[in-house]
C-alpha cells in the first residue's frame, strides 16, 4: 500500500493518489473557517468583556478591544453578588454530584450484582423514566419543596435534581461487564458487599466515576429552570440564575453584563478543557445506554 493511500485511509475519505490533494486541503481550510465561525460568539463575548462600555457600543465593528481592561470583571466581582452566587453554585453542584454518583453507584451495583425482590421492577422503572419529561414535574416539585419549607435553601435546590437515571444505568452496565471471577475470589476471601463495591469494583475503573462526576457537575452547574423557581432570594441564587435575574440599577452596561456571563460560564468551561477526555467518555457512555 502506498503512503498516499495509507494517509487516505487515515482520513477516512478516499482520494486519488497524488502529491498535493487540492480537495483535501480545501476541506481542511473549510473546517478551520467553520470552526472559527462557530466559535465566534464565545470569542466576541470575551472581546466585549474586555472593552469599556463606550467602546462596546461604539459605531462600527471593532473585533478586538483597543485598550483591553479588566475593569468590567472587577466591577462585577466587587459590586454584584456574583461571588456569593459562585459559592451557592459550588455548594449545590458539588452536593448534587457527590450524592448522585454515590447513590447511583450503590444502586447500580445492587441491581447488577445482587438478587432481591423488586429488582426487575426497579430496573424497568428506571428505564421508563427516560421518556418522561422531568421538566413537566416542576409544579409539583415546587409544591413539595415548599411544603417541607425547603424553598430558598441549598437542599431545596439539590433534591429534585438528584433524579438521574442515566448514572445508575451506566454504572449497572459497567458492573455487568466485570467478570464474575473477581467477585467470587473476593467473596472467598470473606469480603462483604460494601467492601466489594468500594474496594474492588469501583477502583477497577475510576475513569468512569470521574467521567460521570464531571458531567453531573456540569449539568448541575448549568441547570436553570429549577433553581430559578426554587430560589426567591438574591443571596441564595446560583450563578446561572443570578446573571439574568438581577437588574443593574446603573443602566444598561453591556460590557459588564457580558463579563458577568463569562464569569458564570468560566468554571464549567475550564472543567471541560481540563477533562476533555472524561467528558467525551461520559457522553458516549450515557448515549450508549440509550441505544
Amino acid at each position: 500500500m502506498t503512503a498516499a493511500v495509507e494517509t487516505t485511509m487515515a482520513a477516512g475519505v478516499p482520494r486519488r493518489a497524488g502529491f498535493v490533494d487540492l480537495g483535501a486541503v480545501l476541506l481542511t481550510i473549510l473546517t478551520i473557517i467553520v470552526a472559527c465561525i462557530w466559535f465566534f460568539p464565545v470569542f466576541w463575548a470575551l472581546s466585549t468583556s474586555l472593552k469599556t462600555d463606550q467602546e462596546a457600543i461604539a459605531d462600527g465593528i471593532n473585533i478586538l478591544p483597543s485598550n483591553p481592561t479588566f475593569n468590567n470583571y472587577l466591577y462585577v466581582i466587587q459590586h454584584s453578588d456574583l461571588p456569593i452566587w459562585y459559592l451557592n453554585s459550588t455548594i449545590t453542584s458539588v452536593g448534587i454530584t457527590f450524592l448522585v454518583v454515590f447513590m447511583s453507584a450503590c444502586a447500580g451495583y445492587a441491581i447488577s450484582q445482587l438478587r432481591f425482590p423488586g429488582r426487575m421492577a426497579l430496573w424497568w422503572t428506571i428505564l421508563a423514566s427516560f421518556m418522561i419529561p422531568g421538566t413537566a414535574l416542576i409544579v409539583n416539585h415546587f409544591i413539595i419543596i415548599a411544603g417541607v419549607k425547603l424553598l430558598n435553601t441549598h437542599l431545596g435546590v439539590i433534591l429534585p435534581l438528584l433524579v438521574a437515571p442515566v448514572t445508575v444505568i451506566v454504572y449497572k452496565q459497567f458492573f455487568d461487564g466485570i467478570p464474575r471471577d473477581f467477585r467470587e475470589a473476593a467473596v472467598m476471601d470473606g469480603a462483604n458487599e460494601f467492601q466489594l463495591l468500594f474496594r474492588v469494583y469501583l477502583p477497577m475503573n475510576w475513569g468512569i466515576t470521574t467521567a460521570l462526576a464531571i458531567i453531573t457537575f456540569i449539568g448541575a452547574w448549568n441547570n436553570f429552570l429549577w433553581p430559578f423557581l426554587a430560589i426567591q432570594n438574591e443571596k441564595m441564587m446560583t450563578v446561572t440564575v443570578g446573571i439574568t435575574q438581577v437588574q443593574d440599577t446603573f443602566g444598561v452596561a453591556y460590557a459588564r453584563v457580558i463579563a458577568g456571563a463569562v464569569m458564570a460560564g468560566l468554571p464549567v468551561a475550564i472543567a471541560y478543557l481540563l477533562f476533555q477526555r472524561r467528558v467525551t467518555q461520559a457522553i458516549t457512555l450515557s448515549a450508549g445506554i440509550k441505544g
Partner: protein
C-alpha cells in the same frame, strides 16, 4: 472529605453573612423593587441615605429585580411560601389583583399613625388606588404619567417651538403626524421613538388616546362599552401610522428608544416621567442637547394622560409573619421615604404626598412644573383584579397590540382580539 468542605463552606458563608450584616442587634429590612430606569439611581441614593442615617440600627438590603411580570411573579410565589421580602414597591394599579391573591398585608390605622400619615396626606387618586374594600394595603409614594420628551433644537428648526419656548402645532392627530414627517425631513433619523416591541408598554399611550376621544376601557363584565372598540382602534392606528410612515422605528425595545432620543437620532420620545433624571444627569454632564418634557399633545378631543402610581407594600409572608421589631423597622423605612419624597420628585415622579406637591420647592422644579398641569387630566387603570402591571389586561394588550403597531395585523382585528381576551376573563 467533600462533606467537610461543604460544611466548612456553609459555616463560612453563614459567618460572612453576619459579618457583612454588622452588629447582630441590627434589623435587616429586605427590600425588593423594580426601579431600573433613571429613577433607580435616585432610589439607590435614598436607600443609601437611610442606611447612613440609621447605621447600626436598621439596614436596608435592597434588590432590584426585572420590572413587570418577573417581579410580580416572584413576589406572588415567594409570599405564598413565606419567603417574600419585608417591604417592596408595588404599582397601585395592581393592588386589587394582589389583594385577591392574598399577597399583601393590611396597613392599619395604627401603622399610619406611627408613620405620621393619614388619608389627608395624599392626593385623592393614589389614595383611592391603595384601598380595597375599605382596607388599606399600601402607602402611596408617587404618581407617574407618561409625557412627551422633545429635542428643543430639532423642534425649533422645524418651526415647532412657540413664542413661550414650548412646542406648538402638535395638537391634532394629522398635525402631529405631519410634524413627525417634517422633523424627519429636517435630517433626524426618526421623528419620534416609542416602545414598539411591547404592546403592554405602548398601551399607556394607546389608553391615553382612547381617553382623549372620550372612550372607556370599561371594567369587569363590561369591557370597552359602546363605541370604545372603534375609538381604541383609532388610538392603536395612531402609532401604527407613525411606524408605517417610518417616523417611529418598528420593534424597538425600551432601552433602544431612550438611546435613540439621547443620541439625537429621534427628535421626540413618549416615555414615563422616570426618565427625567436620565436627561437631567446627562445634561449636567454636558452630554445632552436642550430638552424638555410636556403633557401629551391632544390628538383628539380632550387632554388625557395615562398614569400609574408607585406605592410601598408589605407582603403577606404566609407562615412567617414579621416580628414586631421588623414591622417597626419597615414602618421607619416607609416613613423616611415619604419624608424625602421631594428628593424623589427629582426622579421625575409626582409625589403622592400633598404637602410636597404644594410646596414652593416642588413648584419651582423643571421640567416638572411644565408638565404638572397634566395632573388634572390623568387616567388610571380600572380598579379590577384583571388590571394593572403584569395582569391579564396587561398581557392581553401585549399580545394584541405589538402586532398591530408594527403592521402585522390591522388595528380593528387587534382590538377585536383584545376584547375577546378580556371578555373571556
Amino acid at each position: 472529605m467533600i462533606r467537610n468542605i461543604v460544611r466548612a463552606a456553609l459555616l463560612s458563608s453563614a459567618l460572612l453573612g453576619t459579618a457583612v450584616g454588622g452588629a447582630l442587634a441590627q434589623e435587616h429590612v429586605v427590600w425588593w423593587d423594580f426601579l431600573g430606569g433613571g429613577d433607580g439611581i435616585r432610589m439607590k441614593k435614598l436607600i443609601d441615605d437611610f442606611n447612613a442615617a440609621h447605621a447600626g440600627k436598621i439596614d436596608i438590603q435592597a434588590t432590584t429585580l426585572d420590572w413587570g411580570v418577573p417581579f410580580y411573579t416572584k413576589v406572588q410565589t415567594s409570599a405564598a411560601v413565606g419567603e417574600g421580602p419585608d417591604v417592596m414597591t408595588y404599582h397601585a394599579s395592581r393592588i386589587p389583583l394582589a389583594v385577591s391573591q392574598n399577597t399583601l398585608s393590611e396597613i392599619t390605622a395604627d401603622d399610619m399613625k406611627i408613620m405620621g400619615l393619614s388619608a389627608d396626606s395624599f392626593a385623592p387618586a393614589p389614595w383611592s388606588a391603595v384601598n380595597v374594600d375599605g382596607k388599606q394595603y399600601a402607602v402611596p409614594f408617587d404618581t407617574h404619567p407618561i409625557v412627551l420628551y422633545y429635542n428643543k433644537d430639532k423642534l425649533a428648526a422645524a418651526g415647532l417651538i412657540g413664542a413661550d419656548g414650548l412646542p406648538t402645532g402638535l395638537d391634532g392627530r394629522d398635525n402631529f403626524r405631519e410634524a413627525l414627517k417634517k422633523l424627519q425631513a429636517g435630517g433626524t433619523k426618526y421623528g419620534i421613538s416609542t416602545v414598539t416591541a411591547d404592546g403592554s408598554f405602548s398601551f399607556r399611550t394607546i389608553y391615553s388616546y382612547l381617553c382623549q376621544q372620550g372612550g372607556d376601557i370599561g371594567v369587569d363584565g363590561a369591557w370597552l362599552p359602546g363605541d370604545s372598540p372603534a375609538k381604541l382602534a383609532n388610538a392603536v392606528q395612531v402609532i401604527a401610522d407613525w411606524v408605517a410612515d417610518g417616523t417611529n422605528p418598528a420593534y424597538t425595545d425600551y432601552p433602544a428608544t431612550v438611546a435613540l432620543f439621547t443620541s439625537g437620532d429621534s427628535a421626540m420620545m413618549i416615555n414615563g416621567v422616570w426618565e427625567v433624571p436620565t436627561m437631567t444627569d446627562l445634561k449636567a454632564q454636558g452630554k445632552l442637547f436642550d430638552w424638555g418634557a410636556i403633557e401629551l399633545p391632544v390628538l383628539f378631543d380632550k387632554p388625557c394622560t395615562y398614569s400609574d402610581s408607585h406605592s410601598f407594600a408589605i407582603p403577606n409572608n404566609v407562615g412567617k409573619p414579621a416580628t414586631p421589631e421588623k414591622h417597626a423597622a419597615v414602618l421607619e423605612v416607609i416613613k423616611f421615604m415619604e419624608e424625602n419624597s421631594l428628593f424623589w420628585a427629582t426622579a421625575g415622579h409626582i409625589p403622592a404626598n400633598k404637602a410636597v406637591t404644594d410646596s414652593a420647592e416642588y413648584k419651582a422644579m423643571q421640567p416638572q412644573a411644565t408638565y404638572a398641569k397634566l395632573a388634572a387630566n390623568m387616567i388610571y387603570d380600572p380598579k379590577s383584579v384583571n388590571a394593572g402591571v403584569a395582569s391579564p389586561l396587561f398581557d392581553a394588550a401585549g399580545n394584541a397590540f405589538t402586532a398591530a403597531i408594527n403592521g402585522e395585523v390591522d388595528a380593528t382585528t387587534a382590538v377585536t382580539e383584545m376584547k375577546a381576551a378580556l371578555d373571556a376573563l
